[in-house]
């Protein structure tokens, strides 16, 4: 008998000894349907679009197909929402995923971000002369990664979701093929993001070493039943995971990539990044800290306190000195990450609910803001300096009014969703007796109001007669000085801005529905 046959015999023996079949997990398809729909939609889209003979209709088709896919994924959250309201959490795929209100909430945010960003991207691709369904495919895949992250109950699955989300975003950041800044943004994001993923993975490994499991339920069980005396390994794992996720949500001191990447990426992609990637990063952060490592609260609360205060302060102070609106919004997004971290730092139900409301409201605001910026940026996506906003109110009252509301909302003015969200997290901090952080947050809001109001002032009171030719939109106005050329924009972009505008005001005036939604989406 040859050696090979012997080996095959041996293999057959062991397999019969191991019982004939491996126990395979039962798959609850309804529970994982949003992610499956997003991935399947992305695959179908790339095949159809690449098989197409004529490329003329591809962009329009891709847009509507992407919106349709996202809507279908969103529709699948309805039966899930019904289910999670009756049961606590559905554990899927051998406890790898927990489908609960929390994950449904973030699925809604991710899907909404895809729809809004897609509608803006359609006009953007047309204007910039870019084609290709790849952008839409990557956005769908990225959202599916976000959905996996939000429902992951296992650190390895969470890491998988994080990588699907991030790798798609690296490519999306570089999707404007002819802008060097876009390529630069992609490279920076890729190098730093890859590094932070490695740090996060090392944190998972150390946590596994300390607790003997990567499953968050098991980790929580172990830490409840055992007191870890020499907890160096656990603390190292915990802090490395905080570093990795802190990078994704752009918290100081892991924020260095944010201004360059936000500035260089195509504007609609930046909006998507600020809305969906931040929400997904926070979903992972909240779930890991509040379920798996909830017993180590006293260890991570001070760290989160420092991260939160540093992000709020540094983000707001550095935003003041920016002259580029996209960079300014990048720093403001760092500052917002600090505000959301207050909710985590409070570590109570009010804090979690506040953080969820904040993420939802911020996603809407920031998508609307970057939709306006996309239009104002003009052909080449370059007109982003503060000067380009001078007299925007005359060139397009619609854009100016919407951007004013979005910026006021980010500053936290009452009757906008920004006020409700800031109020939620600060109240949670006060409930948890963290008065210092609550006071700092309120002071930072004042700094924030300055640089938001500066843009608003330029839009309404600034004169737009100097440096007219730099803005592509007003190029037609060069012949007659009196007539100001109106900015034209595609109907889909208009719809998106109007929708974000309406939602921002609606949440600001009647926030109860969103707060109820968040309250029922808490981790239980």
């Amino acid at each position: 008998m040859s050696l090979l046959a012997q080996a095959a015999d041996g293999a057959a023996d062991t397999s019969s000894a191991l019982a004939t079949k491996l126990a395979t997990p039962k798959v609850d398809w309804i529970a994982i349907s949003p992610a499956v729909v997003l991935i399947a939609g992305a695959l179908v889209l790339i095949v159809i679009a690449s098989l197409a003979k004529h490329t003329k209709w591809v962009r329009g088709f891709s847009t509507w197909f992407t919106v349709g896919t996202a809507l279908t994924a969103g529709a699948f959250t309805f039966p899930l929402w019904d289910r999670v309201n009756h049961a606590r959490a559905t554990s899927v795929l051998v406890d790898a995923l927990h489908v609960d209100g929390f994950s449904v909430f973030f699925t809604v945010v991710a899907v909404g971000a895809v729809i809004m960003a897609t509608l803006v991207l359609d006009g953007y691709l047309l204007r910039e002369g870019l084609e290709g369904p790849e952008v839409f495919v990557l956005m769908l895949l990225s959202a599916s990664g976000g959905v996996v992250m939000a429902s992951a109950n296992d650190l390895i699955v969470l890491f998988l979701g994080l990588e699907i989300l991030s790798i798609s975003l690296y490519v999306l950041a570089g999707s404007h093929l002819r802008r060097a800044e876009s390529q630069e943004a992609a490279l920076k994001y890729f190098v730093l993001g890859g590094f932070s993923s490695a740090v996060f993975l090392y944190g998972i490994a150390l946590t596994y070493g300390a607790t003997g499991s990567t499953n968050l339920t098991e980790i929580a069980k172990y830490l409840t039943n055992n007191i870890v005396f020499s907890n160096g390994l656990l603390l190292a794992g915990l802090s490395l995971m905080l570093v990795g996720l802190g990078f994704k949500v752009a918290a100081v001191p892991f924020h260095m990539w944010t201004p360059d990447v936000y500035q260089g990426s195509p504007s609609p992609v930046t909006g998507f990044m600020a809305a969906a990637a931040k929400a997904a990063g926070f979903s992972a952060l909240l779930r890991v800290m509040l379920t798996g490592l909830a017993t180590q609260r006293l260890d991570w609360q001070p760290i989160v306190w420092v991260l939160s205060v540093a992000s709020m302060l540094l983000g707001a102070v550095l935003a003041v000195v920016q002259t580029d609106v996209k960079r300014m919004l990048a720093y403001s997004s760092i500052s917002h990450a600090g505000f959301i971290l207050i909710g985590l730092q409070a570590a109570n139900a009010a804090g979690l609910s506040g953080a969820l409301v904040y993420l939802f409201a911020y996603a809407v605001i920031v998508l609307g803001t970057f939709a306006v910026i996309t239009v104002v940026g003009g052909r080449g996506d370059a007109a982003h300096s503060l000067d380009d906003y001078n007299g925007l109110a005359r060139r397009s009252p619609f854009l100016a009014v919407s951007l004013t509301v979005f910026l006021l909302a980010q500053a936290g003015i009452p009757a906008t969703s920004g006020f409700i969200s800031k109020f939620g997290v600060i109240r949670a901090a006060a409930d948890a007796h963290s008065y210092a952080i609550a006071i700092i947050a309120m002071l930072v809001s004042v700094i924030g109001a300055f640089f938001y109001l500066r843009v608003i002032l330029r839009m309404w009171a600034g004169s737009d007669d100097h440096d007219e030719s730099s803005t592509a939109n007003t190029a037609d106005a060069a012949d007659t000085a009196d007539v100001v050329a109106q900015i034209r924009m595609p109907i889909a972009t208009q719809l998106t801005i109007a929708f974000a505008f309406a939602l921002t005001i609606a949440i600001g005036i009647a926030p109860q529905m969103l707060i109820d939604f968040a309250d029922r989406a808490l981790l239980r």
């Binding site: 397999s15 079949k21 395979t24 790339i46 690449s50 098989l51």
Partner: protein, 121 residues
């Protein structure tokens, strides 16, 4: 020393053995071999062909695309071999799972083909 750390001793011994083995043979051959250099002997080895240009010359981007495709199917093979050895263990579930995996990779190939990656221009 704990048992856990002691198991790392194997690694250290193996690393030491590697250094001794490689260093020993190289220094031994240096002692015994004749040394008679000439200009053509010192030329960098490039599969028997005379090297042209500097080492930092640019290479064609299309090699990179082929490398990407190769890696894709190389990794697929890595997953396929252990799966094929244990197919009866996984049953129908394993068959469907691997079918989905291979199908998605094939979609990638279709995309690459339509994008003209497979054509050598």
């Amino acid at each position: 020393m704990s048992d856990y750390l002691r198991s790392y001793l194997t690694v250290i011994f193996l690393a030491g053995a590697a250094f001794v083995l490689v260093g020993g043979t190289l220094s031994l051959s240096r002692l015994v071999r004749p040394k008679n250099p000439s200009a053509s002997k010192l030329v960098a080895y490039e599969s028997g062909v005379d090297p042209v240009g500097a080492g930092w010359s640019q290479s064609q981007i299309r090699y990179y695309l082929y490398a990407l495709l190769f890696v894709m199917f190389d990794v697929e093979a890595v997953f396929l071999f252990p799966w094929a050895l244990r197919l009866e263990l996984f049953g129908v579930f394993g068959l469907i799972e691997m079918g989905i995996f291979v199908f998605i990779l094939l979609l990638g190939l279709v995309y690459a083909w339509r994008k003209g990656v497979l054509r050598w221009v």
